[in-house]
Amino acid sequence: MEPPAFALTQEAVVKLDGPVAKAGEVEKIFTDLGFFFCRVDCAGLGGKGEFITAVGTGFGFSGVDAHNWDSLEDSLGSLPCFRKAAGYAAVLSNFSGLPPGELALFEEVVRDAAAALWRNYSLRLKVVLLKPEKSSRK
């Protein structure tokens, strides 16, 4: 089966909702492509510092590799210096607690890192933001 379009485009930040927006399905899409994949659950994170640490931990960075926006961007843009893969992807959920300005900055960090990764290594970085799901329980 062909992977969905969002997995193949150059757009680094993808926002999904609806039935396809299940972390497990997203993971299968990217692991089938040979990508390194991680899930980052942002529930209960206390702000920018904890958010950056959570994203960094997901990608396997140490504390010094991802402690602020500049270090996170540098590490994401040089992911092959950490581990080899056909590409790199993450799905983030429950991020609504992050201030909107910080989320916008995070998206900018991801886009700039993805551009560097593509320019230097011809590899893609994709971050999928799962929009909050409404309860489906009856």
């Binding site: 140490s62 504390g63 602020n68 926006w69 270090s71 540098d74 590490s75 210096c81 700039d112």
Partner: protein, 188 residues
């Protein structure tokens, strides 16, 4: 990018040499108008070189070191209390300014300064470079009397970076963009 600029400069030299050579040949049959052409070509070359310098500076790219710089006598201010690390920093700076090919693809790319720890500047003003130090180095470095932690990184590039602003202002970051120390290369 560097290769393109170098190629353009080489091309300018070749074109100028051709025009100059051609004008010399024709000057032998005394054609004053061709003197003007050679003169304009020389001016154009001079302007081209000047533009090249301006482009490099505005792009944040380092310019070549002055010819009178004496590498053997160089040291860094403020004092970094680790002679071997100083040696690594000086080598990197000299390599950057000499246009030596650096080992990582990220070397020389734009540092975006998103945290605004460095003074805000136009996009592309800052460039980043990987400072490689042998792994047996201590986990701290003392710069100007202040102790900085150099925590272990899981990246092959390590945690230490040099950032150059506007092709001339040099910063050393021992802890992956948490701290920036402006340094200067001086002759000791």
């Amino acid at each position: 990018m560097k290769k393109t600029k170098a190629a353009l400069l080489s091309l300018s030299v070749v074109l100028f040499s051709s025009v100059f050579s051609f004008s010399q040949q024709v000057n032998e049959i005394s054609s004053p108008s061709l003197d003007n052409i050679a003169s304009e070509a020389a001016s154009a070359f001079s302007l081209s070189a000047e533009l090249n310098v301006r482009e490099k500076l505005s792009a944040g790219l380092p310019l070549p070191l002055p010819e009178n710089s004496d590498r053997a006598q160089q040291s860094i201010t403020p004092l970094i209390e680790d002679p071997l690390r100083v040696k690594c920093i000086l080598k990197l700076i000299n390599d950057i300014y000499a246009g030596v090919h650096l080992p990582f693809k990220e070397d020389g790319q734009i540092f975006s300064n998103k945290e605004k720890i460095l003074p805000p500047q136009a996009a592309g003003y800052y460039r980043e470079y990987t400072l490689i130090v042998p792994t047996q180095y201590p986990g701290t470095v003392v710069v100007g009397g202040v102790t900085y932690q150099v925590p272990p990184s899981l990246s092959k590039r390590g945690p230490e970076r040099m950032v150059i602003g506007g092709g001339k202002t040099i910063y050393y970051s021992p802890d992956h963009y948490k701290s920036f120390i402006e340094i200067q290369v001086v002759n000791s």
